[in-house]
Amino acid sequence: MMNKKTDVLVIGAGLSGMMAAARAAQSGKKVTLLTKGMGTLSLTSGCIDLWGYEVDNPKQPCGSPFAQIQKVVEQNPSHPYAKVYDVLKESLTFFQGICDKDGLTYRDNGGENWLLPTAVGTLRPTYLAPTSMAVKDLNKVKQIVVAGFDELKDFYPEVLVTNLKKSKLLRPDCELTVAHLKSGWKKLYATSLAHRLEQPEGQREVIRQLKPLIKPGAIVLFPPALGERRDIDVAGLISKGLGCPVYEVTNLPPALPGQRLQDLFLKYLKNQGVTVILSSTVTGAQVAGNRCSHVTAEGAGKTFTISAQTYILATGSFVGGGFDSKPGQIEETIFGLPINTGDGKWASGEFLSLKGHPFNRFGIDVNDRLQPVDGQSKVILENVLVTGANLAGSEFSIEKCGNGVALASGFKAGKLAGEVSR
């Protein structure tokens, strides 16, 4: 059986895995990133959330996420942020640097969360947004035109307008306008719309239909489909044609902002010399004492092994396929690491409970160096580091901390892996 050797093996191509690979490569390590799917980053909104709502009032969007995170770290030492708080700001700078270099600028809102409109007209707190989504001064806008396409599923401008109208953030006299655009295609996906809008005739067609509706002081909100390629600034081009700012709102996948980010990171990693192996699943590990000596990977082709100094487990909990569950049973699929299931309760009675669901908190307990530990805080595998959604103790869907934990834990794991001597 073939054995590949590398310094750092990152398993998983989500945000934390790619951050880990990027940071370890910066330390001069030979890095291999292996992933079974494309990574769920491409399914995300493309915005980076750190913390969404006040810890003491979960209905109130928070201003500075850092103030809330600090509170969390003090109150709850088992929250993943408590393990990675030391590198949080550093990891954000590192992330923004990578994106900036490739022309995908991520903007903060001066330390406060943005409140950005979603496809259903709610306002979503987020910390970093790409320029195409960072709606500035929503409270001063005189007209909001919501541009939907008749052939596009999953984006209904009336829904957006009806709900956004209820927001107290808008000027009382702010006019909301629904625009039904026609593409000439039988049906559209976000990706095919994006492709059409990259063509000059696609942009012209949109501008022609929208222009008569635009009044002074207007902005236009689009579904998140303003182009796929990063070398064509579709939002900028349409904005120029209309003479007013143009933005994408967050929506269900397929959504292009998340895909652009995924694509940017994968290309960045390859340019940094990281070996990326797609479509291969790590199915097991060989462990000697408290160290992993190699893992086994299965592609659609054959099985091979990879040995590394450090293994970074960025397999993304349930959605990414890192955890598998059966009735009453849950397992981490590669190392069989113990999963902290709290008091054993999986779900809240209420589907949309603001307390979230216990299963979202399920995960692997780690120490400050992100090594997996058992119930007595003893390190189980010293050369395995756990990142992102695999970490126990956070309710990402309520706290909106998923990206922040992924960024900081990935960065820290990559940094620690980079410090291991050969």
Partner: protein, 406 residues
């Protein structure tokens, strides 16, 4: 490698996340295809009871297998689509064009009567215009040119004393009939490294027949190939391919589509560079390579990506001093075998391929390499630039005959 048989389980693994739709190169450029999720796992649920639950847009699936690669839940979307295509053709029949284009093996054998004449006729514009009008074969897509003698006619096995390994080379139709230089360069590299290489006559791997919905024809090829490959494996041979699509088909598709047991074939079949990399990891590869101060763009074929082994050719080519290989990272080239030769799909195929053109321009490369013959054809057509198989660069760096144009 384990082979999983519970189809219901794989179907249930689909969580409808749409990542396959988000990454599908066909959906992006046309509204004629309903999408991998809709044609695959969504309709497959109905097909468990009613095999005829097939959407006509299934013919627009190019079988690039991007959906399989991107799925985080291990759903074999493309196999569902391939089977659905077969079901559709079984119900409605395939046009004569598809029946011919799918039978690559027959076309190639027939052309052997007079390859030069066929090459000439294939490039006569009025003939191609008639072909488009009558049969729906895109007039603007150039056919590959038949070699005057096939690889199997040209290859003379060399006697290796105390070989480090013995392999059976499965050249596939493209190398055998169109680019024998690839097989000849491989033979040189193997002989140089003390590997004994034998050949035999095989059927087409069957991928073009599968892609055209001619499932029964493909099954016949598969049965013959599996029996013959197994007889070599029993004698201790490793199976080597240079075509990623043949490789994937032998390793995975016979099992996924026809429920054949190919565990042993999967374990014993290697892409040529995968095999060389294994020799290298074991310290058995000659790494005395001369400098090649040149720059190439590299295109990763979709079916190589889907095998899940990374890009072994890039790892080996890194050993060549002063050679600069730029990974184009542009996704599918769009041709997908016979797909891009069909009149109604030619524009789709060309549109998908624009990503590759753009990447070549950005990289500023004037020559390219890729493992897949059909990708070579498309990228040459799109860019007008020369393109080769990476094994030819390795042969060149060894100072062996590389069959590169001088």
């Amino acid at each position: 490698m384990t082979q999983k048989h519970d189809k219901h389980l794989i179907l249930d693994n689909c969580i409808k996340c749409s990542i396959c739709v988000a990454n599908c190169p066909v959906v992006k450029v046309t509204d004629k295809y309903a999408g991998p999720k809709q044609n695959g796992p969504d309709l497959e649920r109905f097909r468990l009871d009613e095999p005829r639950a097939v959407h006509p847009s299934i013919e627009y699936c190019s079988n690039c297998k991007t959906c399989d690669v991107v799925c985080p839940s291990g759903v074999n979307v493309s196999a569902m689509n391939c089977k659905a295509k077969g079901e559709y053709v079984a119900l409605h029949g395939a046009p004569i064009r598809d029946q011919v284009l799918g039978r690559v093996e027959l076309i190639c054998k027939a052309a052997q009567i007079a390859p030069a004449l066929v090459n000439w006729a294939a490039n006569v514009k009025p003939f191609r215009a008639i072909g488009e009008a009558t049969f729906g074969v895109a007039a603007d897509m150039p056919f590959p040119r038949f070699a005057s003698r096939t690889f199997l006619q040209q290859y003379k096995p060399k006697k290796i004393n105390n070989p480090k390994g013995k392999v059976l080379y499965y050249p596939g139709c493209y190398v055998n009939y169109y680019t024998p230089q690839v097989g000849l360069a491989l033979a040189e590299v193997f002989a140089h490294n003390g590997i004994e290489m034998v050949v035999d006559s095989f059927n087409c791997c069957g991928l073009p027949t599968v892609s055209n919905g001619l499932t029964e024809v493909a099954k016949g090829y598969a049965r013959n190939n599996v029996a013959k490959l197994n007889s070599y494996i029993e004698k201790g041979y490793k199976i080597i391919t240079t075509c990623p699509s043949c490789n994937l088909t032998l390793r995975q598709e016979y099992h996924e589509l026809f429920d054949m047991d190919t565990v042993r074939i999967n374990n014993e079949t290697y892409d040529a560079f995968e095999y060389l990399l294994m020799l290298h990891e074991a310290g058995k590869l000659d790494t005395r390579l001369k400098a090649l101060p040149q720059r190439f763009g590299y295109h990763q074929p979709c079916h190589l990506r889907s095998v899940g082994f990374g890009i072994p050719s890039l790892e080996i080519l890194r050993l060549i001093p002063q050679l600069e290989v730029h990974n184009l990272e542009a996704g599918c080239c769009g041709l997908s075998g016979s797909y891009g030769f069909k009149k109604e799909k030619y524009p789709i195929s060309q549109e998908i391929g624009q990503n590759v053109v753009q990447a070549i321009q950005e990289a500023g490369v004037t020559q390219n390499i890729t493992e897949c013959g059909m990708c070579q054809l498309q990228i040459n057509h799109l860019s007008g630039l020369p393109i080769h198989h990476p094994i030819q660069l390795l042969a060149e760096a060894y100072g062996l005959p590389s069959y590169l144009p001088k």
